[in-house]
Symmetry: C2
Subunit: 333 residues, 2 copies
C-alpha cells in the first residue's frame, strides 16, 4: 500500500516478478478490495503463487514512527513484517514510510544478538561496477563499535550477493591520511585494522561512484551516508537537466539530439537509479527491503528482485552466524 | 608554488588575470628563480602591477600542518599570508596543502573575535544557478553554535558576492521533518529560527545541486560538507565516463558523437567544475582563498577572480562587522 503510488506500482511489479521467477511466491498485504481491483484478471495465471492478505490500516508517508507503531497494529506494513516474524514470509518489501518501517521491523523482528543498531545498505553504480554503502540514514551519531558492526554485516551481504570471497571495505572519511577525520572514524579504523575483514583504509566521498581504487563496501555514519547518497541524486538530476537543456537550445541542437538519441538513451540506462532501487535493513532477525517511495514499476521490480536474491543467498542467516563468530573470537581474545 | 602543477599553472593564470583586470596588482610569492623563468618576457607588460617576493621554502602537498607551521617559516605560503597580515596584500590565493594553509592562516591572521572556528566555503552549480556551501572540511564535530556562526559568516559573504539582500539559508540534514537529524543540527535549527537570518529550514543532500526549492547558502558540519562535495565530484566523474563510453561503443555511436559534439561541449562547459574553483576561509582576520590542488590555468584564474571580487566587496570587513553586531544583540538580549 505504501510509496507515492501504492498498488498501482507495487502490483504490476509483483505480477511481473511472478512471471519472471517461477520459484517466487508473493503475499500481497493491504486493502483486499483495492488489491483485487488492481489485480483483476491478470492474477489468474499465478493463483497458486499469489496470496492476498487483508490489512485494514495503512501507515501514511509522513506519519511519525512511534504513532504508527502504537496506532497501526493492522497496517499493511505491520502485518507484512509479522509474516516474516512468524516464518510465513522470507522477506518483506515495502515502498512505505522509512522511519515507520524501520521502527516496526525493529520492534517485531528484534535485533541479531551482538548488533546494537540496524543499518540501511544499498548499492550505487560506480566506474568499477557498483559499490555497496551503509548506513544510509538509520543512525546518527554512530560510535566506532557501530561502524565496525556495520562493516561485519555489510561484508557478509556483499559476499553473498556478489559471490566474492573477501570484499574490500573502505571507511568514509574526509581524507586518506591517518590524521584526518573525527574520533569515531579514527577509532573505527583501528577496530577494522585489527579485524579479519579486508579493510583497505579511508576512502573519500568520490569513492562512492568513482574513486581512484575499487572498493566493494563503504561504511559510514548514517547522517553522512544519507547526505552523500542524496548529494549524488542531486548531482545526477542537475546533470540530466543541463544535458537536456543543451540539446533543447535551438533547431540544430534538437537535430543533433535526434541523431544522438539512441546513444543518450543507452547512456541513461547505464546510470538508471531504478536499477539500483532497494535498500536492505541489516541487523534484524528477518529480511526487510525498503524501496524508494517514488519508485515506478521498474524500480519496485528491482526491489522485489533484491529480496529474492537475498533470500536465496540466505543473507540474514549468514550475517547472524558471522556476528556470533566475531563475538566468540573477541571473547576468546 | 603549491598545487599539483605549481608555477606552470599559477603564473600563466596570474598573467591572464592581470591582462583582464587593469586594477589588479599581484605579488608572486615563491622561488624567485623559478618564478622569473616561468614569467620570461610575458611579464614586461605588467611590470608596474607585478611584484616578485622571494620565499626560500615550500610546503609539500602531504606535509603535516604542524610541521609546516614549525619548520617552514619562509615558505611561499607563510610569506604570502604574512603579507595579508601586514596589510601589504588584500588576499592570499594558494593551490597548496589545505591543512597547512588553514593552520598557517589561523596562526598568522588570528580569528575574528566572536568566531570560534574558521570554515571553508565554496560554490556549487545548481539547477537554480548556484549554491554556496560551508563548512567543507575545516572542522569535524561542529556544535550548534559553530553551525550558527557559519550561517552568520556565510550570509555576509553571499550578500556581498551575489548582491542579494537576504540570502536563503538551509541547514543540511537527513530529512526535512523536525524530528530528523542529530542533536547538533536540531539545536542549530533553534538558533537559526530565533535569529535575523533568512533561515528556510532543513535541506537534504540533493539541495546542493537540485533541491525542490532554491537555497542560497547551505550550512553543514565540515565532515558532512566535505563528503557531500566529494560525492558530487565522484558522481559527475562517473556520469562523464559513462557518457563518453556510450558514444565510443561503435562506428555509429561515434558518428552520432561527432554530430552532437558542439552540444556536448556546451553541456560540459555548463557544469565545468573549473568555473567553480576557489574556496574562501571564513572567520579569519584576513582573506585567504584555497584553489583545488589539481587546478589548471582556467581553474586557478577562477580562484584569483574570486579573491578580486571578495576584496572589492570587502567581505572580511562585512563579516567582522556583522559578527560584532550579532554578539552585541545577543548580549543585550
Amino acid at each position: 500500500m505504501g510509496g507515492d503510488h501504492g498498488p498501482e506500482v507495487t502490483i504490476p511489479a509483483s505480477l511481473d516478478r511472478l512471471k519472471n521467477n517461477p520459484d517466487l511466491k508473493l503475499i500481497l498485504v493491504g486493502d483486499e478490495t483495492v488489491i483485487k481491483q488492481q489485480l483483476s484478471s491478470a492474477a489468474n495465471d499465478f493463483m497458486d503463487r499469489l496470496i492476498i492478505r487483508h490489512a485494514s490500516q495503512r501507515v501514511e508517508m509522513h506519519e511519525s514512527p512511534s504513532k504508527a507503531l502504537k496506532n497501526k497494529k493492522d497496517s499493511s506494513m505491520r502485518v507484512a513484517i509479522n509474516l516474516v516474524h512468524d516464518g510465513q514470509a522470507d522477506a518483506c518489501v515495502s515502498a512505505g514510510n522509512t522511519g515507520a518501517l524501520m521502527a516496526t521491523a525493529r520492534f517485531v523482528l528484534k535485533m541479531i544478538p551482538g548488533i546494537d543498531r540496524p543499518a540501511i545498505i544499498s548499492t550505487l553504480p560506480s566506474v568499477y561496477g557498483h559499490t555497496h554503502v551503509l548506513d544510509l540514514g538509520a543512525n546518527v551519531d554512530c560510535t566506532a563499535e557501530h561502524l565496525f558492526q556495520f562493516a561485519v554485516m555489510g561484508t557478509e551481504l556483499v559476499k553473498a550477493v556478489e559471490n566474492i570471497d573477501n570484499p574490500k571495505v573502505g571507511l568514509l572519511n574526509i581524507g586518506e591520511e591517518d590524521v584526518k577525520g573525527n574520533e569515531q572514524v579514527k577509532a573505527a579504523a583501528k577496530l577494522l585494522e585489527n579485524s579479519s575483514l579486508n579493510y583497505i583504509g579511508y576512502v573519500e566521498g568520490n569513492s562512492l561512484n568513482a574513486g581512484s581504487i575499487e572498493v566493494d563496501l563503504i561504511v559510514a555514519d548514517g547522517f553522512v551516508g544519507n547526505v552523500a547518497l542524496k548529494s549524488i541524486e542531486g548531482a545526477a538530476k542537475m546533470i540530466g537537466v543541463q544535458l537536456k537543456s543543451a540539446f533543447s537550445k535551438n533547431i540544430l541542437t534538437k537535430l543533433a539530439g535526434l541523431v544522438a538519441y539512441p546513444v543518450l538513451k543507452s547512456f541513461k540506462q547505464s546510470i538508471d537509479p531504478r536499477l539500483y532501487n532497494g535498500a536492505s535493513f541489516l541487523g534484524l532477525r528477518g529480511l526487510v527491503i525498503k524501496s524508494h517511495g517514488g519508485a515506478d514499476v521498474l524500480a519496485f521490480k528491482t526491489a522485489i528482485q533484491l529480496a529474492e536474491i537475498e533470500v536465496k543467498k540466505d543473507v540474514i542467516q549468514k550475517i547472524s552466524q558471522q556476528v556470533e563468530n566475531s563475538l566468540a573470537l573477541r571473547e576468546s581474545a
